[in-house]
């Protein structure tokens, strides 16, 4: 009543009064609305969680069904880019596995080749090849090598003998091989496999001097304002984390990068300081030094990237975002195509991802035609992690003519 009188007769003696201060209606409305909204959201989220759980379960079912065995996967990821999914190799370039006399020799030989790689001429199924098989010593573990060797022999060796290989056998092979380096070609294999047809003779392996003395001084001792290269890039140019692996990169590519640091088209403060103290001949000598080094991979996938996606980007690309396969330009298995396309395999994942970010961020603009800038732009952060991790998981560039450099350098340490 008091309220009514107040409204109807505001002019009469108005007494301040206190009435029961209930929660204002709007607050109630908001509370009710929020409750409804919250419940609805919970219901909605719960539903989508259910859905995604179900999706995931279905996905894993699909994966489980469509993955017959680990050997197929390993072969696809590690061998098929060169030997092809059907194992027929590449004419004049990569020996076939199908019908190969070497594969027919059994899983033990295949494991040895996987562990050591081949570096020299060989004849397979009547064709001559210049062998450049990488060593998977650092890229695959015992179980994986065993699985692969079993898979390859079971699939292609026309043999009735046992083709299974256990990881214990591989482990003992690994220990036996130690640091023997790559097979020198078919002739060396023929010493172990009596049934091999005639093999081309091994070329006399020249003892490669790893770089001239001036380059070695720079690498190991540095000078004035130049810290020694090895102090960051490692004794063998193997790099770490965001410091790149230099071993095996094309010499001309290394020289170009050093010049780009000087010109400012590639930005990195430490390197920009270093190149101030380097002359052109020294850069060339350093390029020649590192290109000759062959060292096992120390790179590992550490960015939690999706390796499957990384493999897809590297092997097939993703045309829906305008990205061609990495290997279209960087060579099969990312071994590089000198001089403009550096090897990517066994490069450190944080370094690779950082470079992709640098193309976008403008710290690097030294790429031909802006190819890498455009590709990096198209890749999401997850894609960059994925492809960097995948590339880090690959074996390093196979031994070339200079495979002895590694041992020599180690002797000097």
């Amino acid at each position: 009543m008091a309220r009514k009188s107040k409204h109807s007769r505001p002019d009469e003696a108005f007494e301040p009064y206190e009435e029961h201060a209930g929660v204002p209606m709007p607050v109630n409305w908001v509370a009710i609305a929020l409750t409804i909204w919250g419940t609805a959201m919970l219901y909605d989220t719960g539903e989508s969680v259910q859905e995604s759980l179900q999706d995931r379960a279905e996905d894993s079912d699909v994966v489980a069904q469509s993955v017959p065995d680990e050997g197929t996967l390993l072969f696809g990821a590690n061998c098929a880019t060169c030997h092809q999914p059907d194992g027929r190799g590449l004419r004049d370039a990569v020996p076939p596995l199908a019908g190969s006399e070497i594969v027919a020799a059994g899983p033990d030989i295949v494991s040895r080749i996987l562990l050591r790689g081949i570096d020299g001429p060989l004849t397979v199924v009547g064709q001559d090849f210049d062998g450049h098989m990488p060593s998977f010593d650092s890229a695959l573990n015992d179980a994986e090598i065993a699985e692969l060797a079993s898979y390859v022999t079971t699939r292609w060796a026309d043999t009735t003998e046992a083709t299974a290989q256990t990881s214990e056998e591989v482990a003992s092979l690994r220990a036996e091989i130690g640091d023997r380096g790559s097979f020198g070609g078919g002739a060396e294999l023929a010493m172990m496999i009596s049934s091999l047809p005639d093999q081309p003779p091994m070329p006399a392996r020249s003892h490669v001097q790893a770089g001239d003395q001036a380059a070695r001084d720079l690498v190991f001792a540095g000078r004035d304002q130049v810290w020694s290269c090895a102090s960051c890039h490692g004794d063998l140019g193997q790099g770490d984390e965001s410091t790149p692996r230099l071993a095996g990169l094309p010499g001309a590519y290394i020289v170009k990068q050093l010049q780009n640091f000087r010109e400012g088209t590639r930005e990195n403060e430490s390197m920009q300081l270093v190149v101030q103290g380097l002359s052109d001949p020294e850069m060339t000598a350093l390029g020649a030094y590192y290109t000759d080094l062959r060292v096992p991979s120390t790179a590992r996938p550490v960015l939690s990237g999706d390796l499957k996606r990384g493999e897809q980007l590297a092997l097939q690309g993703d045309w829906s975002i305008g990205v061609p396969a990495c290997f279209t330009c960087h060579g099969p298995s990312g071994f590089g195509v000198a001089p403009n396309f550096p090897g990517l395999s066994a490069q450190h994942a944080p370094y690779l991802a950082a470079q992709l970010a640098n193309w976008v961020g403008g710290q690097r603009h030294n790429d031909a035609l802006g190819l890498m800038a455009q590709i990096s732009e198209a890749l999401s952060t997850q894609d960059r992690r994925a492809v960097a991790d995948y590339l880090a998981s690959l074996p390093p560039v196979p031994a070339g003519g200079a495979s002895m450099a590694r041992m020599e350098t180690q002797d000097d340490q």
């Binding site: 810290w227 960051c232 996938p301 992690r385």
Partner: protein
């Protein structure tokens, strides 16, 4: 309001329970873990360097706890994998830090393994990064007309080098550098590294479904 005793007891009980659950239990859990294989105790020089690190207050600008990819792009920054409790086995007290005015340093030894680089950078950060806001630590170095035997000369660009003579590192600078170089937790995450990844993806490749099924 005069039942102080039960109130106090209740309050203390709650406090004790919280301490038990948040401090004592985790402490016991962590203490029972062996040190990771890849982690070595600090050498004497590194330990002295660590004391310098603490005394200079590096902690106020540098954290020592890289985060996982779903929290921060530390991996791409090159700061390394997300750290786990076992990584700090020999850090007493730990130098986790909260501020990231400068980069995280838990893996600086892997990222920047060069002694020469660190000496230059400690003497004058601007010699390398002209935009750096890190203080210089010239008092960790001596200027000498000539390097004596065993002196470690600091590589400096002309504009920061003394007119004549050389800059050599004191033992304190060498120790600090040794400590920084020793900061390397890039080994594999120890099994059961005691890290709760919540809803994020754990570091390292996800186990494939086929592995889980086995």
């Amino acid at each position: 309001m005069n039942r102080y005793l039960p109130l106090s007891i209740l309050a203390l009980a709650i406090l004790a329970f919280a301490t038990l659950m948040l401090v004592i239990a985790p402490g016991m859990q962590i203490n029972s873990r062996p040190a990771p294989e890849g982690l070595t105790p600090y050498s004497e020089a590194e330990q002295r360097g660590r004391e310098t690190y603490v005394s200079l207050g590096c902690l106020y600008c540098h954290s020592q706890q890289p985060r996982s990819g779903d929290q921060a792009p530390d991996g791409e920054r090159g700061w390394g994998r997300a750290s786990v409790a076992a990584d700090y086995t020999y850090d007493q007290p730990h130098q986790l830090g909260t501020m990231r005015t400068g980069p995280d340093l838990l893996n600086v030894g892997a990222r920047l393994p060069s002694e020469g680089w660190h000496l230059t950078h400690l003497y004058q950060p601007r010699a390398i990064f002209d935009w750096s806001i890190m203080p210089a630590y010239p008092y960790l170095f001596d200027e000498k007309p000539q390097a004596g035997p065993g002196d470690v000369v600091v590589a400096l660009p002309a504009e920061y080098a003394p007119q004549d003579g050389v800059v050599v590192a004191t033992q304190q600078a060498l120790d600090l550098t040794a400590y920084l170089q020793s900061l390397d937790r890039t080994y594999e995450v120890p099994a059961d590294g005691l890290r709760d990844h919540g809803y994020g993806t754990p570091d390292g490749p996800e186990p494939t479904p086929s592995e889980e099924e086995r």
